[in-house]
């Protein structure tokens, strides 16, 4: 038994177009993926907003932020020295 359109290969291939199971439900898959796409963009925005909020809270002290930037600067200088 098969839920796909191909039950046997003893036919002309011209009669076999799509071979995907549950043929005829393509519009349903398209609809589901469309809704998923919209949810996906919203989810990515939410993840980004969460990251922004976390960082803003953690580095609300300007001194801490300056120390981190100085640390990054030191790291890149160290890497440059290592390269040369």
């Amino acid at each position: 038994m098969s839920i796909g359109p191909v039950n046997e290969w003893d036919n002309s291939l011209a009669d076999v177009t799509s071979v995907a199971p549950i043929a005829g439900a393509e519009a349903l898959w398209a609809g589901i993926i469309f809704v998923f796409g919209i949810w996906f963009v919203i989810a990515i925005y939410r993840i980004g907003a969460g990251q922004e909020a976390d960082v803003a809270q953690e580095f609300s002290d300007p001194d801490l932020l300056r120390r981190l930037l100085a640390y990054f600067e030191g790291q890149s200088e160290q890497e440059s020295n290592n390269d040369t």
Binding site: I33, G37, F40, Y45, Q51, E52
Partner: protein, 458 residues
């Protein structure tokens, strides 16, 4: 005999065609590596992640409506039909995917391969855009812009200028057989429109408000990425050629390699011209950058994009000379955009892709004046007016204007630029912390092992 022809076509179309697509995948993948190498160290994983994330998103957008749009709006100018012939590309159809759909000539349909090629071009356009706006755009905003760029603007560009029935091809003699220059011009214009609204990174602006470029965090990654991109273009050339196409030449039907416009072509000659463009770019780039290989390779990209529209006709020596011209002009244009308009274009997308594509189309229109773009007698031959107008449509009408308007809307809705603190700190903080934590933990374990095994040994 019929079976032999069918076997040959399957070998060429299914075998070589799929290998060409795999090779073509290297182009957007290479540019993704460039985005990783060009941003600052604290953003490099986020940059790569955003570029790679664009691939599945572009796939979904293309499947749902981009692919169908490219057929629906091929007629023109304006909306003058074409909808009826677009239903086979609808997302609720059954043509995309495994199957044995046959064309009118009895051969198996190449829809699936054509669609993959379309998705790769869409991804390429979006990675070009991402390269320009790195490090300060919200990923969600980038995805929405990618929807517009690949799903609508890119689809129109492909339908109008990179298909046999495109109205720019039929009425204006537009010619770009590989399609990469069409997409590069479009994406460069789109990126310029977005950048004008997005603004530069905090780190690139000095006290007087002047923007200064920031060097790459990894020259090696940029170099490797550009090299992969060039390899990918060879794949794009092969993927854009229909091998063993039955073409009606006079009263005889011959099996030849044909462009997307249906005209006979020589793929090996196109690859030779691509190599000649690389040679020209490398030579002049070495002089202009004092043999800095990373910057030389960057200029080479402009050389290749500029010469691709005529790669099926140019003499290789002409290509070398023009490649030098494009590298020089677009390298200077990148500095000029930064100096004059404070444009902080991280990977140089506007100049290296947009400008070189634009001028490549204009110049190829002049040099190829009078050559038939297709075997259809009614089609207009290649001419300067057609290619120049098409270049302006691609860069400004389909690129800059939609990009600028969409960026304005996103900025108004607060969905364009990330928070300033996050921009300063970078997206990779958690990744860097994880690396530091695991490294420290590993050190502690090693230290304990040494203490237990060596120091406490009698």
């Amino acid at each position: 005999m019929d079976n032999e022809i069918a076997a040959t076509r399957i070998l060429l179309v299914e075998g070589i065609g799929i290998l060409a697509l795999v090779l073509a995948l290297m182009a957007p993948l290479g540019l993704s590596l460039v985005t990783m190498g060009c941003g600052r160290f604290r953003n490099r994983f986020a940059n790569l992640g955003a570029s790679v994330l664009l691939f599945p998103f572009v796939f979904v957008v293309s499947y749902l409506f981009g692919w169908m749009f490219s057929f629906a709006f091929a007629s023109g100018p304006g909306f003058t039909g074409g909808f009826q012939s677009a239903w086979h590309a609808a997302p609720w159809g059954d043509r995309l995917g495994p199957g044995f759909h046959q064309t009118e000539s009895g051969a198996f349909s190449t829809d699936t391969q054509d669609f993959i090629r379309f998705v790769l071009l869409g991804w390429l356009a979006c990675v070009i855009l991402a390269g320009a706006v790195l490090e300060r755009i919200k990923i969600g905003g980038l995805l929405l812009l990618a929807t517009l760029l690949s799903g609508f603007c890119g689809s129109l560009a492909v339908g109008w200028g990179w298909s046999e029935r495109g109205w720019m091809v039929a009425l204006m003699g537009y010619h770009d057989p590989v399609g990469a220059t069409t997409i590069a011009t479009l994406a460069g214009g789109f990126a310029l429109g977005v950048l004008r609204i997005l603004g530069p990174r905090i780190a690139s602006v000095d006290d007087s408000g002047q923007t200064h470029g920031i060097g790459p965090n990894s020259a090696g990654l940029v170099l490797a990425g550009h090299t992969l991109f060039l390899l990918g273009l060879i794949g794009m050339i092969l993927a854009s050629v229909e091998l063993a196409a039955p073409v009606q030449l006079g009263e005889v039907t011959q099996y030849v390699a044909a462009t997307v416009y249906g005209a006979p072509t020589d793929p090996a000659g196109q690859v030779l011209n691509l190599i000649a463009a690389v040679m020209g770019g490398l030579m002049i780039g070495s002089i202009l950058t004092h043999a800095d290989i990373t910057r030389t390779m960057t200029l080479t990209i402009a050389s290749v994009i500029g010469t691709l529209p005529a790669s099926d006709f140019f003499n290789p020596l002409q290509t070398v000379l023009l490649a030098m011209f494009f590298a020089w002009v677009c390298g200077n244009a990148r500095d000029w955009l930064e100096r004059k308009f404070n444009l902080d274009d991280v990977t140089g997308s506007v100049a290296l892709f947009g400008f070189s594509g634009f001028w490549g189309l204009v110049i190829s229109g002049i040099l190829l004046w009078g050559i038939p773009v297709s075997t259809v007698p009614a089609y207009v031959h290649i001419n300067p007016f057609g290619n120049t107008t098409a270049a302006m449509i691609l860069f400004w009408v389909l690129g800059f204007i939609p990009g600028n308007i969409a960026a304005r809307i996103l900025r108004y809705a607060g969905g364009l630029r990330i928070d300033r603190t996050l921009e300063l700190v970078g997206h990779d903080l958690e990744v860097l912390r994880d690396v530091e934590d695991t490294t420290s933990a590993a050190y502690m374990r090693e230290d304990r092992y040494v203490r237990e095994e060596f120091q406490e040994r009698p």
